[in-house]
Subunit: 364 residues, 2 copies
DNA sequence: GTTAGCACTCAATATGTTTGAGTGCTAAGC
DNA sequence: GCTTAGCACTCAAACATATTGAGTGCTAAC
């Protein structure tokens, strides 16, 4: 977290006004206009002096010498970190959001899609939601379903509720009965095991060709799941950021999963708790140059969590959008916890579950 | 299909040259420039006369009286319908595409994602692929998996290889054993049944509360699947159409599934076989005003098929893009057929399987 | 039917002018 | 010593006015 030089109280007020006014109108704000608009008890000349000071410190800038001031990225950061009050979405909006969630089927993908839609709509920006992923995935249940001839559909259910499916081709056709027997045997052996344990037993124990093949597929899936590549992403509100030249190229980030993955990984590595605001890509990501990304992890930290975010122009309503991200993340966290994760409390390894639910906000 | 007035051979040549040149350069083409560029054996004045004729018939237009000609939508349509030769992607590109498909895991979602990526890359436009859907879905296999407490994960496999999953909350906790028994019983009763038959048996036969609840969920899923709402869409290459003002608003179409669904339904209703080219939205869809959508169904007609398409500016390389869409659609059709559908040949109702595979193209 | 010739058109570009919001600076005021 | 009124100065944006040149339509000759 960057340290900022101390500003006088008046300078802070002025900075906040510049930010708010610029966010609202999109036009550079001049000293005189500012005094008039907010009915200030000091003159425009005073404002000009403070402008000069703020400009010196890099919080505001002007497009050309005779233009009004606009906030710099640094200015936005100061604003977000120090001047942003506690803000909550209006009650009726929160109720509507909850309502929509309760309407939805009990399906993670539905919730994710819904979250993305809600974030996009309430923020007027783009949004994305990545599927929650476990750090250490565990085998729960395997099912082999005979399809035509030598083709078999394997359905693998992990602890955490994730379901993986994959086809495999056998050397020779087998009956559903035989397949079920194989599946049952493996289910008994590998229940609650993670990929390492399964790999160990595979090399130790004796399995026939079919069994080994299936186990290898299972291992594949588990490892892929462990590997934290982003498989499912739900996006929404791309239209919202189309018109703005500066924001448009952020779509590249949203579209290329590898790019998004690297950004999220890095951000996660250095980022703290709760809702985070990345302004102008923090100089690290070209794609986010004129954009702000407000993101939050959701789910259960360290064991089963995903990311959810709003992406829009630097010039966005921060209070509202931060509140929206926090609210939706909290809701998702509690849903994920309630419906997918309580079971894992049985596992010995994971003792601490840190649920990031801000009760003050999520109860009404 | 619209009837076009007959053009002289030279007029057709000129129209084709205007279209090709404009597609390449993006600039209105003048009579003199055309003669020089293509080394024509008639003069610019002759071209001007034909320009006038073509303009009269609405195939070309000019932005202002003293500007060169650009093709109208009508001009593009004539070009696509009559002047577009047989074109195939270069061998190495086809090989690369095949290679990528064979690299991918045997998973429908993988293939769809890959198709979208390939279409986007080879066309330089946006693309989308909708999941293939059955007209009449049939129950294949049901699995109930105990989760924490009263929560149960239901996994439903349909003929055609689709897998639906859904959570349900029981009135009281049940053991995995009990759940498996229930699942097995339902599997025996409902194997190969469609939603109507299941509904009939539900109202006729006697089922306990749990069974009824599960059956209702199954019915829900089946009906939703029957209902042809687009559930899964894979998009790619949105970045490609960002820069162009005219094309940009097509993103709205790609993003709003309901919108896309209505367009596809209508197009399907009136559209013919094979690859279809919709230019400028055919005056029916505002969102496609300055865009061209090249689309094709893939899969097995009338029983399990989806749509795949390229969306880009009207000014796009038609030959290449049509070839790309056809090639990918053919590949997908054969994959879907091989891996998901041969089993359904057992079903008595569906006798005719029309596979839209153009062998001349897909064998190398 | 085709072509050379020519006057005409008009977007694009460059150049000049005006306007006004906004600035920095200075000197006076609290 | 901070605040303020006053004033000359700046510069993008808006508007007006030439200049240019690719391209046209038309006509008369081939």
């Amino acid at each position: 977290m960057v340290e900022f030089q101390q500003l006088t109280e008046r300078q802070e007020r002025i900075l906040a006004m510049v930010v708010r006014s610029y966010i609202e109108t999109g036009k550079p704000v001049g000293s005189k206009a500012l005094v008039e608009e907010y009915g200030l008890d000091f003159s425009s000349a005073t404002v000009r002096n403070d402008f000069a000071a703020l400009g010196e410190l890099g919080y505001v800038a002007q497009l050309h010498t005779s233009a009004g001031r606009i906030p710099t990225e640094r200015g936005y950061r100061y604003f977000v970190q120090k001047l942003l009050g506690e803000f909550h979405l209006p009650l009726h909006e929160r109720q509507m959001i909850r309502h929509q969630f309760h309407q939805a089927r009990l399906e993670l993908s539905q919730w994710m899609r819904l979250s993305a839609a809600i974030l996009a709509r309430t923020s007027g920006s783009a949004s994305f939601v990545t599927a929650p992923q476990s750090r250490a995935n565990r085998f729960k249940h395997l099912q082999l379903i005979a399809t035509q001839g030598r083709l078999v559909l394997m359905v693998l259910v992990l602890f955490g509720g994730e379901v993986k499916q994959q086809m495999l081709t056998l050397a020779e056709p087998l009956s559903q009965h035989r397949l079920s027997t194989v599946a049952d045997r493996l289910n008994a052996i590998f229940h609650e095991k993670d990929s390492d344990e399964i790999a160990a037993r595979l090399s130790a124990g004796q399995f026939d060709t079919l069994e080994s093949e299936v186990i290898n597929l299972v291992l594949d899936s588990l490892r892929r799941a462990d590997h934290r590549s982003i498989s499912d992403i739900y996006r929404d509100g791309l239209v919202n950021i189309l018109e703005d030249e500066g924001t448009r190229h952020a779509i590249r980030l949203l579209e290329e999963r590898t790019l998004l993955a690297s950004v999220l990984t890095e951000q996660e590595a250095q980022g703290g708790e709760g809702v985070q605001v990345v302004i102008g890509g923090d100089g690290r990501w070209e794609e986010l140059k004129d954009c702000t990304m407000i993101l939050s992890r959701y789910g259960v930290t360290e064991s089963f969590s995903g990311t959810l975010a709003v992406v829009g122009p630097t010039r966005m309503p921060y209070d509202r959008n931060v509140a929206a991200v926090r609210y939706v993340a909290d809701l998702m966290s509690s849903f994920v916890y309630d419906y997918f994760l309580q079971e894992t409390a049985d596992l010995p390894e994971n003792t601490l579950y840190q649920i990031e639910v801000d009760n003050s906000d999520s109860i009404e």
